[in-house]
Amino acid sequence: MSILEVKGLEKVYVSRFGGSRAEALKNVNFSVEAGEYVAIMGESGSGKTTLLNIIAALDKPTQGEVFLDGQNMNALKESSAATFRRNNLGFVFQEFNLLDTFTIEDNIYLPLVLAGKSFKEMSGRLKPIAAQLGISDILKKYPYEVSGGQKQRAAAARAMITMPKLILADEPTGALDSRSSDELLHLFAQINASGQTIIMVTHSVKAASTAGRVLFIKDGEVFHQIYRGNDTDEQLFEKISDTLTMLATGGMRK
C-alpha cells in the first residue's frame, strides 16, 4: 500500500508584481510504499526542497495533489496542517534546527509535549530510541555543548519519537563530517530496516546510495529513478554516479 502519493505537482513562483515566473516544479508524479527508503537527488535549484516543503504542507502547490496515508494535504487548514505534521511526519534538517533554549532531551520531547503526552510516556519512549541512536549520555546537555553528529542524531530522535508515518530528511548529512555522515546514514538504514518509511533529499551520492530507491529531479520534473534491487551500496553508488554524469552532460533523453 502506498503511504505517499504525489500527483501532477506543479509549483510556480511569481515575483511580487507578477512580472516574472519561475517554475520550481512541473508535473511531478511518484508514490512511496510503506517501509520504503527513498532518496531524492538533484542539483541545487532543481526543486528538491520545494518538493519536500509541499509534502510537509509547509508550502502550497500551484497545481496537483499530495496524499499522505490517504489524506489530501492541500485540503488541510494551516492549524490542522500543523497538527497533522506533528502527528504523522518527522523531520531531519541539514542545520539540525534544535532550539538552543532546550536541553537535547527537551528538544526531543518538544513534539510530544505539544501533543500533550505525559512525562512518563515521553521518557518511556525516549529510552530505546536514545539507546539506538547512541545519545543516552548527552541528553542533559545543551545543543551548543555537543558535536554536529550528535546534534543530528538528536534531531533524528526528535523525528522518530512521535512514531511518524513518514520521516522527511532534508540534506541530513550536509553539515556533517564524513564519519558522522556514515554513522547517521547507517542509523537511517537501521531505522528503515525496522519498518520506518523515509524520504531523504540529498545531493550526496554517498547518502543516496544507502537508500532503497533513488529519484532524480531535474528542472522540476522526476527525470529518472533507480531501484536498489539486490545491489550493494557500492554498486548503487556507481549507478547513481553514472546517472548523474548522464544528467549533467544531458545524454539520456534526446
Binding site: 534544535l98 533554549t101 509535549v113 505525559s118
Partner: protein, 671 residues
C-alpha cells in the same frame, strides 16, 4: 568623491537601522529637552519674584545634574545594544576591504549625525515647551506670570556641553568595541554561541535577603528621623537586591519550575519556562532596571503629588489658626492666663476670634513597662529607637476648652493621647513625680501639637504642679530637652492681606517692652501666619512636585526605551526559534499563545516587583512625609494607588505597542 563616501555610508547605516536608531534618537532628544527645561528654570528670571527662589533654583540645578548623570549612564547602556546590532554590518565592511580606521570614520559621521539631530530636536522641543513649563511652574507656585518669551543661551550652551561630552564618550566606546574584534567575530557576533544560564544560588539568596531586610527596615521603623537616615540605605539595598534577584534568583526559580516535571512538560509552560530561564540572566539586568525605574516613578509621583495636594491639610495641621504664637518659659508659674492675653490684644486693636489657648511641657522619656525614665542617655541605641517617646504634659482645663469636652480628673488620674505609638498600661509613673492612673485614652486632640515623633500626651489635672515636679525631679541641662510653652492661636476674620498685616502687627507687638509683660517673662517666641507659611509650602512642595514630574518623565522615557530594545532584540533572537517550532509542528496560534504568556510574565514581573517595593516603602515614606507635617495617610494611599494604576495602564499600552513590533519581526522570518 571619497570625502562624501563616509557621510553617505553613515546616513545609509542610520536609514537601514531605523528600527533601532529612531527610538535612540527620540530618547536622546527627550533627555536633551528635559535637561534644557530644567536648566532654563534654574536660570529663569520669572521665578525671582517668588519667596525662596534661591532654594528653588538650587533644587533645579541639582535636578539638572541628576538628569545629566542619568542620561549618560542610560544612553551608554542602550548604545551598547545599538552597536551589537551593527557589528555584523561593520564586519562585512571590514571583509570588503575597509580597515578599522575607515569604519571609525563611518562611525564618527554616524555619531555626529545622531548627535546633531537629537540635540537640535531636543533643544527645539525644549525651547518650545520651556515657556509652558515656566507657566506651569509659576502657576504651581501661585506666583505672578510674565508673558515674555525667552530663549536661554546659557541653557543651550549647557545642553550642548553635557550631551556633546556624552556623545564623544559613546563614540569612543563604539570605536573601542570595533577595534578589538576581528572581521569574523564581528560578522558572527550576533549568532555567537550562547551559554545556558547557571543560576547562582548564593547571589540569588543574597538578593532575597537584602530585599527582605530592606522591607523589614521599611515596615518596622518607628520614628521619622531614623526613617530619613535609613531610607537611603533601604533604597540601596532594594536596588542591589532587585538586580541580584532578577539576574540569579529568577534563573534559580525557573529551574525549580523545570524540576517539577508535570508542570514543565505542558504545552503552555514548556516553551515559555525554558526561554524565560534562558533569557533571564542576560535580560535580568534590563528587567531589574525597568522594575527600579518603575519603583522610582511610583515613589516620586505618589509622594510629590501627595505633598502638593496634601499641602492644605499640612498647613492646617501645623498652623491650626490664622495667626499662631507660642512663647517658651522657664517656669510654668510665669505663664499668663487667657484673659491677660486677650485684653492685651484687644487693647492693641488685634481682633481675636476662635482662639485656642493651651500650655504644654515637652520632654523625652524612655517607656519601660509603666515607668518613664527621663535619663534618655542611659538607653541603648536599640532601646532608644524602640521605646523613646516625646512626652507632652497638658492640663485637663486647657483641653476641655480647646476641644469643648467636659473631662474631669481626680488628683492621681490622667488622660492619654498617643500619636504614632501606643501605650497599653493601667498606670504610668514618673519617678519622683508621681503615678498616674490612666483614666481614658483620647481619640482626638488639639491640632498642631502632635509632631513627627512617636508622641505621648499626658493630660493631668494640675499643670503647674506636675510640670514643676518634673522640672525639679531631674537636672535638665542642655543635653536634655525640657520645654514649657504657651500656645496661642486665633482667627481674624480678615482676608489674606488683612491677615498678613495683622501678622506683622502681632510680630512687632510681642517685642514691645511694655507689652511683653502681658505675655509673661518668656525666653523665646514665635509668630506665624498660615497665609504667609502657605506660600512657603507652595514654593517648596510645588518645586518638589514639579521636579518629581520632570524626573518621572525622564525615568519613564528610559523605561520605555529599555522595553522597546528588549522586545526587538528578543524578536531578532526568536526569529529562528519561531521558524523551527513551526517546522516541528506548532501552529501559529500555539506559538503566539506561548510567546504571549512568556512576554506577559517577563513584562509584568518588573511591574509586580515595583508594586511590591512601593507597598513596602509605603510606611517608610509616610513617616518621611510626617517630617513635612503631612500626616494624611489616606491621601498618600490614594495618590500611590492612582499612580500605580496609571503606570500599569501606561505600561500595558507600551507593552502592547512594542510586542506588536516583536511579532512583526518574528513573523517576518516565516513569511
Amino acid at each position: 568623491m571619497k570625502a562624501q563616501l563616509y557621510p553617505r555610508l553613515a546616513v545609509r547605516g542610520i536609514k537601514n537601522n531605523k528600527r533601532v536608531f529612531v527610538p535612540f534618537i527620540l530618547t536622546c532628544a527627550g533627555m536633551v529637552m528635559m535637561f534644557y527645561i530644567i536648566v532654563y528654570l534654574a536660570v529663569s528670571p520669572a521665578l525671582d519674584g517668588i519667596i525662596g527662589a534661591e532654594t528653588l533654583k538650587q533644587m533645579f540645578a541639582l535636578g539638572s545634574w541628576v538628569i545629566a548623570v542619568f542620561s549618560a549612564v542610560f544612553l551608554f547602556y542602550t548604545h551598547v545594544f545599538l552597536i551589537r546590532r551593527r557589528k555584523k554590518e561593520f564586519g562585512l565592511y571590514n571583509i570588503l576591504g575597509m580597515d578599522k580606521h575607515n569604519i571609525a570614520k563611518v562611525l564618527l559621521w554616524e555619531t555626529l549625525f545622531t548627535a546633531i539631530v537629537s540635540v537640535s530636536a531636543g533643544l527645539a522641543a525644549g525651547i518650545a515647551l520651556s515657556k509652558f513649563a515656566e507657566l506651569g511652574m509659576v502657576n504651581i507656585m501661585r506666583g505672578k506670570v510674565s508673558f515674555s518669551f525667552i530663549v536661554s543661551p546659557l541653557a543651550i550652551l549647557r545642553c550642548v556641553q553635557i550631551f556633546g561630552i556624552i556623545f564623544v564618550l559613546l563614540y569612543l566606546n563604539s570605536v573601542r568595541q570595533i577595534r578589538f574584534s576581528s572581521a569574523i567575530t564581528l560578522l558572527r557576533s550576533e549568532s555567537a554561541g550562547e551559554k545556558p544560564p547557571k543560576g547562582n544560588f548564593f547571589a540569588g539568596t543574597l538578593g532575597l535577603l537584602l530585599l527582605t531586610a530592606a522591607y523589614i527596615i521599611a515596615v518596622k521603623i518607628k520614628d521619622p528621623v531614623s526613617a530619613l537616615a535609613m531610607f537611603f540605605v533601604a533604597v540601596l539595598m532594594v536596588i542591589v537586591g532587585t538586580y541580584l534577584v532578577f539576574i540569579s534568583g529568577s534563573v534559580f526559580f525557573c529551574r525549580l519550575l523545570k524540576k517539577n516535571k508535570s508542570y514543565y512538560y505542558k504545552p503552555n509552560h514548556f516553551v515559555s519556562v525554558s526561554s524565560m530561564s534562558y533569557r533571564m540572566k542576560r535580560n535580568g539586568a534590563g528587567l531589574a532596571s525597568i522594575s527600579i525605574l518603575a519603583t522610582m516613578v511610583l515613589v516620586i509621583v505618589s509622594s510629590t503629588t501627595c505633598m502638593y495636594f496634601g499641602e492644605e491639610s499640612a498647613v492646617n495641621a501645623r498652623y491650626p489658626r490664622e495667626i499662631n504664637v507660642y512663647f517658651n518659659y522657664d517656669s510654668p508659674n510665669s505663664i499668663p492666663d487667657l484673659d491677660t492675653i486677650n485684653n492685651c490684644l484687644s487693647e492693641n486693636g488685634i481682633p481675636a476670634e476662635n482662639t485656642v489657648y493651651y500650655r504644654n511641657a515637652s520632654f523625652y522619656g524612655i517607656v519601660r513597662g509603666s515607668t518613664v525614665d527621663l535619663r534618655t542617655d542611659r538607653a541603648s541605641a536599640s532601646e532608644a529607637s524602640s521605646s523613646m517617646r516625646l512626652f507632652n504634659i497638658v492640663s485637663v482645663d486647657d483641653i476641655n476648652r480647646a476641644l469643648g469636652t467636659g473631662e474631669t480628673l481626680a488628683a492621681d488620674e490622667a488622660l492619654v493621647y498617643t500619636d504614632e505609638c501606643s501605650l497599653d498600661v493601667e498606670e504610668l509613673s514618673i519617678p519622683q513625680v508621681g503615678t498616674f492612673r490612666i483614666k481614658k485614652q483620647l481619640d482626638r486632640f488639639i491640632e498642631g501639637i502632635s509632631g513627627t515623633l512617636p508622641t505621648i500626651i499626658l493630660v493631668v489635672p494640675d499643670f503647674t504642679a506636675t510640670v514643676d515636679a518634673i522640672s525639679h525631679s531631674f537636672d535638665f541641662d542642655e543635653d536634655f530637652m525640657f520645654l514649657i510653652r504657651l500656645n496661642y492661636g486665633f482667627d481674624t476674620g480678615r482676608g489674606v492681606d488683612g491677615q498678613t498685616s495683622l501678622y506683622r502687627k502681632m510680630f512687632l507687638l510681642v517685642q514691645e517692652e511694655n507689652v511683653k509683660e502681658s505675655f509673661g517673662r518668656y525666653n523665646g517666641y514665635s509668630v506665624s501666619a498660615r497665609e504667609v507659611e502657605r506660600e512657603d509650602f507652595y514654593a517648596v512642595f510645588g518645586t518638589l512636585f514639579y521636579l518629581g514630574i520632570i524626573l518621572s518623565i525622564v525615568f519613564v522615557l528610559a523605561a520605555v526605551l529599555i522595553i522597546y530594545y528588549k522586545q526587538i532584540s528578543e524578536g531578532y533572537e526568536d526569529e529562528r526559534r519561531f521558524e523551527i517550532m513551526q517546522k516541528v509542528g506548532m501552529t501559529e496560534r500555539e506559538i503566539r499563545k506561548s510567546i504571549n504568556s512568556q512576554l506577559l510574565t517577563v513584562f509584568f514581573l518588573p511591574l509586580a516587583f515595583a508594586v511590591m517595593h512601593v507597598s513596602f516603602a509605603f510606611p517608610m515614606i509616610r513617616k518621611l512625609l510626617l517630617l513635612l507635617s503631612l500626616n494624611n495617610s489616606s491621601l498618600f494611599a490614594v495618590t500611590t494607588g492612582i499612580s500605580a494604576v496609571a503606570f500599569a495602564v501606561f505600561y500595558a499600552v507600551v507593552y502592547k505597542l512594542t510586542s506588536s513590533v516583536y511579532f512583526k519581526i518574528v513573523r517576518g522570518a516565516s513569511q
